[in-house]
């Protein structure tokens, strides 16, 4: 990352005095996202930790308008909100759905898939803390293999792998997908600013550690985020049009053991399970590498990036209405 010289926007849009726990990854994600997005933004937040973090009405820490919506509706409400803005001739305001992993991978997935298929013109940011943290740490389909949660107790920790949301969304061929981490604000802000310039559906997946849910000290939040990147648990990526893969950062490939050992939620793991996790990570990385190689080959033969501006049906619809 050393070679990226990036000036973070100085303005703090997220106000102090929010309700987050110390060391909350989801709150850092919001802070950096707002720096990148600026004030002309409307947030659509379904049920998640951020329902609470924003503060009780009339107080709001977000610094931009917040549209709190039902658990399963972030992408649909954002679609409607964007259509409403377009119909009023507002093409400037950025609509951002900001949802946790439960509201993205599970209950909100149908709405998300629908919005992606229609190539709706908004940014969807998922802050992924790998479980339902706001209701007391229940497993979601984003919870990784082997993790403890209150509904995957340590005697029988989660037996399934984390759902690969990035691959699923890539299969929708949306214009822009990126994964990022609160440990690398320059990477995160650059990607969200890039997303802001692209039209159509954009999805940003933010790896967001949760001290009470993952069982580590709040001051280790950034350290753990870095470890996740270095150990290839969470690759930093960009995917254009669902096919053009770019790696943002080549990780050192440190043993996953070091990452797991820092968190109480993995304390019960036996050596054999740790090896199994390492094996899965290595296999996934090989698969990713082959996609990176074939993307590069395609880029070279096409002579440039694949992403391009889309014609958006509902934008046209709005314009037609205004003419009448």
């Amino acid at each position: 990352m050393g070679q990226i010289k990036y000036q973070l926007p100085a303005e703090e849009i997220l106000a102090p005095g929010h309700f987050a726990c110390p060391g909350c990854g989801g709150t850092l994600a919001m802070r950096y996202a707002l720096k990148a997005l600026g004030r002309k933004t409307i947030l659509v937040i379904p049920a998640c930790c951020w329902t609470v973090i924003d503060g009780p009405v009339p107080f709001s820490a977000a610094g931009v308008p917040v549209f709190h919506t039902a658990f399963e509706t972030a992408a649909s409400a954002a679609s409607g909100l964007k259509a409403g803005l377009e119909m009023q001739g507002d093409h400037e305001t950025t609509v951002v759905a900001f949802a946790g992993d439960g509201g993205t991978f599970d209950i909100g997935f149908q709405a998300l898939s629908g919005a992606a298929e229609r190539n709706e013109d908004f940014i969807y940011i998922c802050y992924d803390n790998e479980a339902y943290m706001n209701t007391g740490i229940q497993r979601s389909s984003a919870t990784p293999f082997g993790a403890w949660t209150t509904t995957t107790p340590s005697e029988s920790p989660k037996a399934e792998n984390k759902k690969n949301i990035i691959e699923i969304l890539a299969a929708h061929r949306i214009p822009y997908l990126a994964t990022t981490s609160v440990a690398y604000p320059d990477d995160m802000i650059a990607k969200i600013q890039k997303a802001k310039e692209i039209r159509g559906m954009r999805f940003i997946h933010v790896f967001s550690p949760c001290p009470p849910g993952w069982k580590f000290e709040p001051e280790d939040s950034i350290k753990i985020s870095r470890m996740a990147i270095k150990s290839k648990v969470f690759p930093l990526l960009e995917i254009f049009d669902g096919v053009d893969y770019r790696l943002s950062h080549e990780p050192a490939g440190t043993p996953v053991r070091d990452y797991l050992k820092m968190q109480g939620r993995f304390r019960h793991l036996k050596e054999k399970q740790i090896e199994e996790i390492q094996k899965t990570i290595d296999e996934e990385w090989e698969r990713l590498k082959s996609k990176l190689v074939s993307s590069k080959r395609t880029r070279q033969s096409n002579g440039g990036p694949l992403a391009k501006e889309r014609n958006l049906f509902h934008v046209k619809r709005g314009e037609a209405l205004r003419k009448e």
Binding site: T51, H68, F105, T135, Q138, T151
Partner: protein, 387 residues
């Protein structure tokens, strides 16, 4: 002998379910019902039974219906927002005559409402959640012991009448822990659904004759056979005849629809349960349910110690409305006080038409619990008006 354990209503619903023979649970996180989910995830797998995490509430109830159609007693638990999502599948359970129990731990609504704030705003929503006005049994425990007893009863009713049943509690009953004396818990008497008789299945020809929704008299419950077993079982949420064939409005289909209502309504006496605490010659009767029944209980005790003759009805059953028992309890009273934690007196609106000529007073609040003092004041001022 006593054996005390610290338990809350959520835990006792889970224990009641296991005692009733529940072998399948599907859950989705939601405050204040997650405790039931957690308990079942911890307990059922130990017994070789199944507790699963669903990706949303629609799936949670649909999971249960699938398991129930293979003969297992099944339960899910949720709160208002999750129940809202379940309603289509709940209606499907009515139409397919699927036994299933839903624990609904109420919070302040509407919508996301107050996730950590109690409330009793869902009684009519639940009681009238079936298009066409079909009755589903709704029970309302007011403490952990009742939660245990009524959960067992809920499973029995679900099985016997092949119907979805809702256990309607609230955040305070669900999440407040207190001493429970296990020695005093009743033995679980459990019933299962009536199966299509094995001997009649033997020949293929007889197998053909099985009809999924066949009944003799309209209020009879069809015999159950597992879907995919050796007789043809057709499960459908569409209007159907006795064999499960889709028909819009054939006479037989209309009979099936009437049957769905009558099998519950004509057997209300077997379904309903009330906890009556009547005083002789009382001029006032207090009716309440859930957490408000707890405070009403205290208010009634205080009034009696002051020499007031007050009767108390703990409405453990909300639907079908236990009309006969309520009328018996209020027969000699002039004043009826209905206590519930919602804005307008939801359940009061359902029962006040039963009492022409009597003064019916609602004691209500929203966003906070109703205090015994408030109930006492309402009772005292109502009897002052009599003098």
């Amino acid at each position: 002998m006593s054996l005390f354990r610290i338990r809350n209503g959520n835990q006792m619903i889970a224990e009641g379910a296991i005692a009733a023979g529940c072998r399948f649970f599907a859950g989705y996180p939601i405050t204040p019902a997650s405790g039931i989910y957690k308990f079942m995830i911890d307990e059922l797998p130990k017994r070789g039974d199944v507790a699963i995490s669903s990706p949303d509430e629609i799936s949670a109830l649909a999971f249960c219906i699938g398991a129930s159609q293979r003969g297992f007693k099944a339960m899910t638990a949720t709160s208002g927002p999750g129940f809202s999502l379940m309603v289509e599948t709940l209606q499907y359970a009515v139409m397919t005559e699927t036994p299933v129990v839903i624990a609904l731990v109420q919070r302040l609504g509407p919508s996301t409402g107050g996730a950590t704030q109690g409330g009793q705003g869902d009684a009519l929503f639940v009681g009238h959640s079936i298009a066409g006005g079909y009755t589903i049994p709704v029970f309302s425990p007011s403490n952990p012991v009742e939660a245990y007893e009524l959960t067992i009863h809920a499973f029995n009713v679900a099985e016997k009448f092949r119907t979805p049943v809702v256990l309607l509690t609230d955040k305070e009953v669900g999440m407040t822990s207190e001493n429970v004396d296990y020695e005093k818990l009743p033995d679980a008497e459990t019933t299962g659904r009536k199966y299509f008789v094995q001997s009649r299945r033997l020949s293929g020809q007889d197998g053909e004759k099985y009809k999924t929704y066949a009944f003799g008299k309209r209020d009879e419950v069809p015999e159950f056979a597992e879907v995919g077993s050796d007789v043809k079982v057709t499960i459908t949420g569409s209007a159907h005849d006795m064999a499960g064939r889709l028909q819009k409005n054939s006479p037989e289909t209309i009979e099936v629809l009437r049957h769905l209502q009558e099998k519950i309504a004509l057997h209300a006496d077997e379904v309903t349960k009330l906890d009556l605490d009547l005083s002789e010659r009382s001029d006032t009767v207090v009716l309440s349910y859930g957490i408000s029944a707890r405070t009403s209980c205290e208010a009634v005790a205080n009034l009696r110690s002051k020499g007031k003759r007050v009767s108390f009805v703990n409405l453990q059953t909300l639907f079908p409305i236990p009309e006969k028992d309520i009328l018996k309890a209020v027969a000699n009273a002039k004043n009826i006080v209905v206590v519930e934690e919602n804005m307008t007196g939801l359940y009061k609106s359902q029962i006040e038409k039963l009492f022409p000529g009597k003064r019916v007073i609602g004691v209500n609040d929203v966003g906070r619990m109703i205090t015994p003092e408030k109930i006492e004041q309402a009772v005292l001022s109502s009897s002052r008006k009599d003098n």
